[in-house]
C-alpha cells in the first residue's frame, strides 16, 4: 500500500492562496485581539513553499475510496512563509492603561499618548512537529486535528527587529497566537476549505434537500441507512410486538440528511424486488467493493474458541419459550449464530460491532490493518471462497455472540434469525452511521481533550458504517421466500439440538411473516448454508479469523501450522474473554441481557455481500 501526497498541485491552484488568505484573515480577526493591535490583521502573503512536510504514518484506522482516517507524525521544516500586516500601538504605557481600571490609573498627562505604527510581520522557518489526526470523508470533508502543540519554533521578523524589547514581545505574542491557531482555528479552516473543494457534497450536506443525482459512492454509502430504515419500518408495521422506536427515528433523520431521491428510488425497487419475486434487481455501483472492505473489517474480533458451552444457550431458549415475542427470538438467533458460525452470522455480526466493549476496541483497530491485506488478497477468490467469507463474517459475529450465548446450536436459529434480527442490525447500523457523522464533524474539538477514547471509538464507528454499507448493496441478491425457508430447513436438520422442539414454534411463527429484509439476507445465507454446514462443525471447534477463514475456505482441510498456532492462541484469548464475559453476565439480570441482545441483534449487518458479486 502506498500513499502519494501531492504538495505542489495544492499550491498550483491560483485561487487557493486567495481563499486561504481570506480564511486566515477572518480567523485571525475573529478572536479578541490583544490591545497592542489596534487594527485588523491582514494576511498579505502566504506561501506554502516547496518543501512538503514529512509524514510518518502511525496508524490507519479506516481506509476506503472516499474515506480515510489515520494518525500521522508530522515534521515540517520547510520554506513556507506568511506575511501579516496590521497596526500596533507602540506605546506600551498606552496599551497597559487601556486595560487597567481608570480608578487606579496613574493618569499620565501625555506619557500614554498613542503612536500607531503599521507593522509587517513575516513568519518564516516554521519548525513543526506533532501528531496529526486526519479524517477524510468525501461527504464530510477533511478534519485535521493536532494532538499536541505542533509549533516548535519559528522566526518572526518585523519592522521592529532593531528594538529588542518589541521584537521579543512580538515573538512571544505571535507564538502564543499561532499555538492557538494551530490547535483551534486551523482545523476549522481546513475543514471549511475542504468543504469548498467538494462543493456539491458540501451543498448536499449543508442543505437538507435531496439531490437528484448524487455521486455513486455516496449513494451506495447512503443506501445502507435507507434500507435499514425501510426494513425497520416494515418490521414495525408487520410485527405486533413492536420494537423500540428510537432506532426508527434515528433512521428518519439520517435519511433526510443523506439520501438522495434517486438512491431512495433504487432502494425501494430493491426491496420491492425482494418482496415480489420480481427478477429485476437494480444494480448499485461500488457496492461490492464496500462489502469487501466490510468483510475484512469484520474478521478481526472473531476467533471462536473451540470450546463452546451451552450455558447461555439455555438461557436464551428459555427466553424464547417464555416470550416468543421478537426480542426473545432475536436473542435466540444471536445465540445460534454464535455457536454455529454458519448462516447465523448476519444476525450476530452487528452484535460484535455494537456490543464491543472498550477493551475489545483496541484489538480491533490492530486487526483491521491486517485484515485489509488478507481481504485484498482474497478478492480474487471464487464464489466458493466468497461463500466461505460470508460464513466467516457470520462466524465472527458468532464469536461476539458466543460471549453471551454459548453452546446454542445453529440449526434452530437459522430459521428464526433471518426474519427478526436482520432489520434491527441495519437500523443499528444506521444509527452508527449517524454517530460517525457526528464524530467526524466534532472531531477537531473533541480530539485534544479525550484523545484515547476518541481514537478507540473511531475505527469502530467506521467499521460499523462500512458493514452496513456493503450490506445494503449486497442484499439485492434475489432470494425469494421459498429460498429462505428451504435453506433454513436443511440447517435445522443438519444441526438438531435437544432444544429444537422449543425453538420450532417460534421459528415457524416468524418464518410465516413476510418481512422483506429478512428474506434478503436469508436468501444468500440459506444458499450458502448447505455448503457451509459441513464446515460449521469445524468452525465451531476451530477459532475463526477472517483471513484465516478465507484460506481455510479454499484449503479447509489443510490448515497451515502457523495458522493453527495463531488460531489456538486466539482461541485461548477468546476463551479467556468468554470466561470474563460469563462472570459478568451471571450478574446481569435476564431482562437486561435480553434487551442487550435485542439491541445488538438489531445492529447486525447482513453478511452475504459476496454472493451478490
Amino acid at each position: 500500500m502506498a500513499f502519494n501526497f501531492n504538495w505542489s498541485p495544492l499550491t498550483a491552484d491560483p485561487e487557493f492562496y486567495s481563499r486561504a488568505r481570506d480564511l486566515l484573515t477572518a480567523a485571525l480577526n475573529k478572536s479578541p485581539k490583544p490591545p497592542i493591535i489596534v487594527a485588523d490583521i491582514l494576511v498579505t502573503e502566504l506561501n506554502l513553499g516547496t518543501t512538503p512536510p514529512d509524514l510518518e504514518i502511525l496508524e490507519i484506522g479506516d481506509l476506503a475510496d472516499d474515506r480515510f482516517r489515520g494518525i500521522f507524525k508530522m515534521e515540517y521544516s520547510g520554506d513556507a512563509f506568511l506575511t501579516l500586516q496590521t497596526k500596533v500601538q507602540a506605546n506600551p504605557l498606552n496599551t497597559h492603561l487601556s486595560t487597567a481600571p481608570s480608578f487606579t490609573s496613574p493618569q499620565p498627562l501625555a506619557a500614554s499618548s498613542p503612536l500607531t505604527i503599521p507593522l509587517q510581520i513575516t513568519l518564516s522557518d516554521f519548525r513543526l512537529s506533532g501528531f496529526v489526526i486526519l479524517v477524510f470523508s468525501k461527504a464530510k470533508g477533511i478534519t485535521l486535528v493536532f494532538r499536541n502543540d505542533p509549533l516548535e519554533s519559528l522566526v518572526v521578523s518585523s519592522t521592529f527587529d532593531s528594538i529588542p524589547f518589541i521584537k521579543d514581545y512580538l515573538q512571544k505574542e505571535i507564538e502564543k497566537q499561532l499555538r492557538n491557531l494551530f490547535q483551534e482555528e486551523l482545523p476549522a479552516i481546513i475543514h471549511r476549505l475542504s468543504l469548498r473543494w467538494w462543493g456539491q457534497d458540501y451543498d448536499s450536506a449543508s442543505s437538507n434537500t435531496l439531490r437528484p443525482q448524487p455521486m455513486p459512492q455516496s449513494s451506495t454509502f447512503n443506501s445502507g441507512p435507507s434500507l435499514s430504515n425501510k426494513s425497520s419500518l416494515e418490521n414495525l408495521n408487520e410485527q405486533p410486538e413492536g420494537r423500540p422506536h428510537d432506532s426508527f427515528s434515528f433512521n428518519n433523520d439520517l435519511e433526510s440528511d443523506t439520501l438522495s431521491s434517486k438512491s431512495l428510488l433504487r432502494l425501494a425497487t430493491l426491496t420491492d424486488s425482494q418482496r415480489t419475486l420480481s427478477l429485476f434487481t437494480p444494480s448499485i455501483r461500488d457496492a461490492i467493493y464496500r462489502a469487501w472492505a466490510v468483510a475484512g473489517d469484520r474478521s478481526d474480533p472473531t476467533s471462536t474458541p473451540s470450546s463452546t458451552n451451552g450455558t447461555h444457550s439455555s438461557t436464551t431458549y428459555s427466553l424464547d419459550s417464555t416470550a416468543p415475542a421478537r426480542p426473545g427470538l432475536v436473542a435466540m438467533a444471536s445465540s445460534l449464530s454464535v455457536s454455529s458460525s454458519s448462516g447465523l452470522g448476519p444476525n450476530g455480526r452487528p452484535v460484535t460491532r455494537s456490543s464491543a466493549l472498550g477493551k475489545k476496541k483496541k484489538t480491533r483497530v490492530v486487526n483491521l490493518r491486517r485484515k485489509k491485506d488478507t481481504t485484498q488478497s482474497s478478492d480474487a477468490d471464487t464464489s466458493s471462497v466468497t461463500g466461505s467469507e460470508s460464513i466467516t463474517s457470520s462466524m465472527e459475529v458468532g464469536y461476539e455472540e458466543k460471549e453471551h450465548h454459548h453452546g446454542s446450536e445453529a440449526s434452530e436459529a437459522s430459521s428464526s434469525i433471518p426474519e427478526i434480527s436482520i432489520p434491527p442490525p441495519l437500523a443499528a447500523d444506521a444509527r452508527r452511521s449517524g454517530e460517525y457523522v457526528d464524530v467526524s464533524v466534532s472531531s477537531p474539538l473533541r480530539s485534544p481533550t479525550g484523545r484515547e477514547p476518541f481514537l478507540a471509538n473511531r475505527p469502530h464507528h467506521h467499521a460499523a458504517s462500512d458493514a452496513k454499507i456493503p450490506a445494503a448493496p449486497a442484499t439485492p441478491s434475489p432470494p425469494p421466500l421459498p429460498a429462505q425457508t428451504q435453506p433454513q430447513q436443511p440447517q435445522h436438520i443438519s444441526f438438531p439440538t435437544e432444544k429444537d422442539g422449543s425453538l420450532f414454534p417460534a421459528s415457524d411463527e416468524y418464518s410465516g411473516e413476510p418481512s422483506a429484509p429478512i428474506s434478503l439476507f436469508s436468501g444468500p445465507y440459506s444458499q450458502l448454508s448447505p455448503q457451509l454446514s459441513p464446515m460449521q462443525h469445524g468452525g465451531s471447534s476451530v477459532p475463526m479469523e477472517n483471513p484465516f477463514v478465507d484460506s481455510r475456505g479454499r484449503t479447509a482441510s489443510s490448515g497451515g501450522i502457523a495458522e493453527k498456532a495463531w488460531m489456538m492462541k486466539m482461541a485461548g484469548e477468546m476463551a479467556r474473554r468468554w470466561a470474563e464475559e460469563r462472570v459478568r453476565r451471571e450478574k446481569a439480570e435476564e431482562l437486561l441481557e435480553e434487551r442487550d441482545r435485542r439491541r445488538r441483534n438489531g445492529s447486525s449487518p447482513p453478511p452475504a455481500y459476496k454472493l451478490q458479486e
Partner: protein
C-alpha cells in the same frame, strides 16, 4: 457633571487647602474638561446625601440594557461644611469646565496645624475614606486620602475585581505641593509601575513674597501678579515588570484672575519618546462662552487630530435688581468656601461677582472632531435636580447618526 463623591472630595481638598490644579497631572485639565467630556448613556440616576458633615452616601443606578448600580460611602475626618446640596450648589462647582486658576498660595506653616491642649498635641491629620461597590460587576473601589502635612498628601486608591489580573490593583500616590513647585511619586501594583511627576511655576514665588504680599494683598498692584503664570513640568514612568516606560513634558501658560484681558490657557505637551505633540488653546470669550481647540500631531507617524469645543453658559434673563440682590447677598455671605480668590482681587469685582452669583441655568458643551464626531452635553438644574443630557453624533453615518443618547439625574441632599 461631577459625581457627588467627586464633588465631596473636591470640597475636602478645599477645606484642607489643597490645590488640585497645582499638579502636572492637571496641566491640561481645562482642555480635557472642554473636549473630552463624557456623554451619558442611557438613564442614570444618582441619589446622594451628606447625612452629616463627615459622612456621605451615594447610590447610583444606571439602565442601559441591563440595570447596574453602585453604592458608595465616604467618611471625612474634617467636617465638610462647604459641601452643598444639589439645589444650592453653584453649577460652576458641579460642572467641570474652564479652570480659572487662582494665584498660588503660600502653604501653611506646619506649626499652624499644631493644636496643643494641656501640653499635649491633639491635632489629627485630615483623612478621607471612600468606598464604592459596583453591584452586578462586583467591583470594589476604595480610596484613602490623608493630608500628611500642609505640603504633603497621600492618596491610595485600589480596585478589586476578580476579572482583573491579580484580582485588582493598588495605586499609591504621594503628592507634595510647595506652591512654587509640586512633585508626585506614584507606585502601581499593576505592572509594578513607578512614576514621578513634577511641575514648576515660573515667576512669582509666594513663599518669598510673603512679607510683602501680606502688606500688599489688598492693593493688588503687584506687577508680578498681573501677568499670567507659566508652568513647566515633566513625568516619567517605568514599569518594572514589563520593562517599559514612558515620559512626557509639558508647558502651560494661563492668565490669572488679575488679568484684565480675556482669560486664556495655552498648553503644550510633548512626548519625545513617541514623538507626540499636543497643543491646546482655550479662551474665555465674554462672560458665558469658552472656546477651545486642541491639535495633536505625531512626528513619527504623521498622524494628526484636531478637536474643537466650546462651552456656553446660559444665564437667567434676569432683571438687574435680582442680579444685584444676588450679588450683594453673595458678597454679604463672604463667598464662603469656593471663592478664595475674592479676598485678594477686589479690583476684579466683575469677575468675582459673576462667579458668586449663581444665575446660571445651564451649560451647553459641544465638541467636534476631525471625523465629524459631535458630542453634545447640556448640564443644568431643574428645581432641586441636577441633570445632564448628552448625545454623541456621528455625521459620517447618515442612516444612524445618533450613537448614544443619555440622561443623568442627580439629587443630593
Amino acid at each position: 457633571m461631577l459625581g457627588f463623591m467627586d464633588y465631596v472630595q473636591k470640597c475636602f481638598y478645599r477645606a484642607s487647602k489643597w490645590d488640585e490644579d497645582n499638579s502636572y497631572a492637571n496641566l491640561n485639565a481645562t482642555a480635557r474638561a472642554l473636549l473630552d467630556f463624557p456623554t451619558p448613556k442611557g438613564l442614570k440616576m444618582n441619589l446622594s446625601s451628606l447625612s452629616s458633615p463627615n459622612f456621605a452616601t451615594s447610590y447610583s443606578m444606571a439602565s442601559l440594557g441591563v440595570v447596574d448600580g453602585s453604592v458608595s460611602y465616604l467618611y471625612s475626618s474634617r467636617p465638610l461644611d462647604n459641601a452643598l446640596n444639589s439645589g444650592d450648589v453653584q453649577l460652576k462647582d458641579a460642572v467641570s469646565g474652564y479652570r480659572d486658576l487662582r494665584e498660588i498660595m503660600k502653604p501653611d506653616d506646619p506649626r499652624d496645624w499644631e493644636i496643643w491642649k494641656g501640653g499635649v498635641r491633639v491635632d489629627r491629620r485630615d483623612t478621607l475614606l471612600y468606598g464604592r461597590m459596583y453591584l452586578p460587576a462586583s467591583t470594589l473601589e476604595a480610596l484613602y486620602l490623608r493630608r500628611l502635612a500642609p505640603t504633603r498628601q497621600l492618596k491610595i486608591s485600589a480596585v478589586s475585581n476578580s476579572r482583573l489580573p491579580n484580582g485588582g490593583t493598588i495605586l499609591a500616590l504621594l503628592q507634595q505641593d510647595n506652591g512654587k513647585w509640586s512633585t508626585e511619586y506614584l507606585y502601581s501594583t499593576d505592572v509594578a509601575l513607578i512614576g514621578m511627576r513634577g511641575l514648576y511655576n515660573f515667576g512669582f514665588d509666594p513663599r518669598k513674597a510673603l512679607p510683602r504680599s501680606t502688606t500688599a494683598t489688598t492693593t493688588a498692584l503687584d506687577p508680578r501678579k498681573i501677568a499670567g503664570r507659566f508652568s513647566a513640568g515633566a513625568e516619567v514612568y517605568y514599569g518594572i515588570l514589563n520593562k517599559s516606560g514612558g515620559m512626557s513634558t509639558g508647558f502651560r501658560y494661563t492668565t490669572l484672575p488679575s488679568n484684565v484681558g480675556s482669560p486664556l490657557t495655552v498648553t503644550l505637551t510633548v512626548n519625545p519618546l513617541m514623538g507626540h505633540f499636543q497643543a491646546s488653546y482655550a479662551v474665555k470669550a465674554g462672560e458665558g462662552a469658552v472656546f477651545c481647540s486642541r491639535y495633536d500631531f505625531n512626528i513619527y507617524s504623521y498622524e494628526s487630530d484636531l478637536v474643537l469645543g466650546c462651552e456656553l453658559w446660559r444665564r437667567k434673563q434676569g432683571d438687574d435688581t435680582a442680579a444685584a440682590a444676588d450679588a450683594s447677598a453673595a458678597a454679604a455671605s463672604g463667598m464662603s468656601a469656593g471663592n478664595i480668590d475674592q479676598t485678594w482681587q477686589p479690583e476684579t469685582t466683575s469677575f468675582s461677582r459673576e462667579g458668586a452669583r449663581d444665575d446660571v441655568t445651564g451649560v451647553l458643551k459641544a465638541r467636534i472632531t476631525q471625523n465629524y464626531n459631535i458630542g453634545l452635553l447640556w448640564e443644568g438644574r431643574y428645581k432641586q435636580l441636577l441633570f445632564s443630557l448628552g448625545s454623541n453624533i456621528d455625521l459620517k453615518r447618515r442612516e444612524q447618526p445618533f450613537r448614544t443618547v443619555g440622561i443623568e439625574i442627580q439629587y443630593n441632599s
